[in-house]
């Protein structure tokens, strides 16, 4: 079950990074970068 959820987190993180390279508004890019932090920490099972 844990790995299913981690898979979803990974998918979301990839989607966010993908979109960051398409987004032209730097503030929205910043928002996305902030959202990435908890996703990465959970993906690595750190927090």
């Amino acid at each position: 079950m844990l790995y299913v959820y981690l898979g979803l987190v990974l998918l979301l993180a990839i989607g966010i990074i993908w979109n960051m390279f398409r987004e032209k508004d730097i503030l929205k890019q910043l928002d996305a970068a902030l959202v990435l932090v908890p996703l990465i920490l959970r993906l690595l099972l750190i927090k």
Binding site: E23, K24, D25, I26, L27, A32, L41, L44, I46, K47
Partner: protein
Amino acid sequence: MQIHTKHYRISAAILIALAAVVCVLLSTQFLSMREEEPIYPGEGVTQTRMLSDWYPAIRGTAGDTEVYVLQGAADGDSMLVLGGTHPNEPSGLLSAVMLIENAKMETGTLYIIPRTNNSAFTCTDPQEGTPMRFHISTPEGERWFRFGSRATNPIHQWPDPEIYVHASSGQRLSGSETRNINRSYPGRTDGNFTESISYAITQLIQQEGVDITIDLHEASPEYPTINAVVAHEDAMELASWALLGMQMEGMDIALEPSPKNLHGLTHRELGDYTDTLAVLMETANASQGRLRGKTDERLIVEGKDKFYVRAAQYGRLYVPFDENGHPLSERVARHTTGILQFAQAYNDLGLGTIQITGMPTFVEMQTDLGPYLIPKAKN
């Protein structure tokens, strides 16, 4: 507001790199919670075992934890002390450490688990702003201990369900309680991570025939069950007798029966599912309370808080609370004295023999824990 840039790909790369740096900085902090505080077994400890000895399926998991065994020269009965059921209630861990480092058994066997929910020591509760560590000064330097979370670290058990259904009773609680080990007893083999740990503890009690189990807790000063013993109905006589002993030591303490319809707790399920006499003790911890002010190490160790003083003046608390607060030394003195009084009551009532020696007196501990927590060289 929008700020468009022509170099949006470069800014994206820079921001991702910054996010990575933030992740590294945060990781070092979060991972520091996985380092265990040193415990220096005293000469009374005859064996250090792992909880997985009683339920091998948890071996190597974050829930496996040390069980310190103090076996007396003479055969007798046995007692299990659970510290760190809730690692945000530090007097449980500290009382267990005091016993491991000082107690000796004349008769009978004492089992001590200082970190009952070992996983919950590896994180703090979100949005509480609690420090990760606190320090106790001893004549030979400072010791550090972790201030953890009430529940299992979500990285060891995730995600939470919407509703937590307690397996053997069907009781329904909020989803986050699924990681609260003191709602998971007696545990089960095909359940979640937390249930496997409580199952291991139930196995220890059954396989060793543990006669008394004492679960150490703390509560917010505004919580009604505080400075109290909660006892399973089978342990009521023992608890009443022990309570008299505690009161003779000068402790103001109350006795409450374990509610029959509140499931998953040690004093209910261990009493129902095993032959142990199951009790739980609570002290007053301002650092987990809702009314507390600045939350730092001092609040944990000294237990002083001006907002609680005011709440007491308004008559809103269930314990007296003045400028002196409720320091950790007092809370540990209460727990350890309670444990000694349970052993004494057990002997006095003719139920068997459990003789614990080597512990400082209530007043000595209340004054300063430092002299009894001197770090020793690890061998």
